[in-house]
């Protein structure tokens, strides 16, 4: 039974994995038990979940690192000319 009790640090980690659907069933049970008696983690868990919901609402498209580097390189060339 002691195995089912985890520390806050692990609870936080499982909660993060949960957000990416990467927590196992055992981990989820451990988290649920922890949340029953730990209000700090309950609070963190609620805001973590809310963050996931907000992120899911938005369709993002980011630049890849290479794409950003290309933009940066060409811009910095011009910037240098300007700052001379």
């Amino acid at each position: 039974m002691g195995l089912f009790f985890i520390k806050c640090k692990e609870a936080g980690h499982v909660c993060d994995k949960y957000q990416y659907e990467e927590a196992s069933i055992t981990e989820k049970i451990k988290l649920k038990i922890h949340l029953m008696y730990c209000s700090a983690c309950r609070k963190h868990s609620a805001s973590n979940k809310k963050l996931s919901q907000l992120l899911n609402k938005i369709k993002f498209q980011f630049l890849s690192s290479e794409e950003k580097d290309n933009i940066k390189k060409s811009f910095e060339k011009e910037l240098k000319k300007h700052q001379q």
Partner: protein, 183 residues
């Protein structure tokens, strides 16, 4: 009231993702979107002397970008002989309105929804831009690009547990950054 200032040295780091996201939802082509973002930064650089400090830096850049997107549509439409524009409006003076409409409402969603989502996207982007570089990079790969933990770890040469620590910090920081207006 403090006047706004321009600092082009930070533009690419702070605004390129935001401007890119804004553009790609409107032009739907990664290469063209990147070109438009590049052109916007350049145009901004050349227009710095006209900046009066009334708008925030990012707002000012967005207003330049909007013109670029309109010009882009104008160009394709003139290549197509403006057929599409004429079909919608008889009067050529309305062409500008048509373009503005197309840019303002690129989705089929209700306008209200899309405004709220745009504000949310905006808030999330600014919060991500405030994260330390490495945190932002790991978070984006994991959360937005949905890459596997293993793939990211290999690419960035970090351990899986290291990755989760970084993701955790990023999530805590983002939640607190968004808390005031969105929670």
């Amino acid at each position: 009231m403090p006047k706004h200032t321009l600092n082009p040295n930070n533009w690419v780091d702070l605004y390129s993702d935001y401007l890119f996201n804004y553009t790609i939802t409107r032009v739907n082509d990664r290469v063209i979107a990147q070109d438009l973002v590049s052109e916007t930064f350049l145009a901004g650089l050349n227009a710095m002397k006209n900046f009066k400090g009334e708008a925030a830096e990012r707002t000012w850049l967005i207003s330049i970008l909007k013109r670029k997107i309109i010009d882009y549509y104008r160009k394709i439409n003139s290549n197509k002989g403006k057929a599409e524009v004429r079909m919608t409006y008889n009067d050529s003076e309305s062409e500008g309105d048509w373009l503005e409409e197309r840019i303002a409402d690129p989705f089929d969603k209700t306008a209200e929804d899309s405004i709220e989502n745009e504000e949310l996207a905006d808030a999330i982007q600014s919060c991500i831009a405030k994260l330390p570089k490495k945190q932002a990079e790991v978070f984006k790969k994991k959360t937005i690009l949905n890459q596997e933990t293993e793939t990211i770890s290999k690419e960035l040469n970090i351990t899986a547990s290291n990755l989760w620590v970084i993701v955790h910090r990023a999530r805590v920081a983002l939640a607190s950054c968004l808390e005031k207006n969105w929670f």
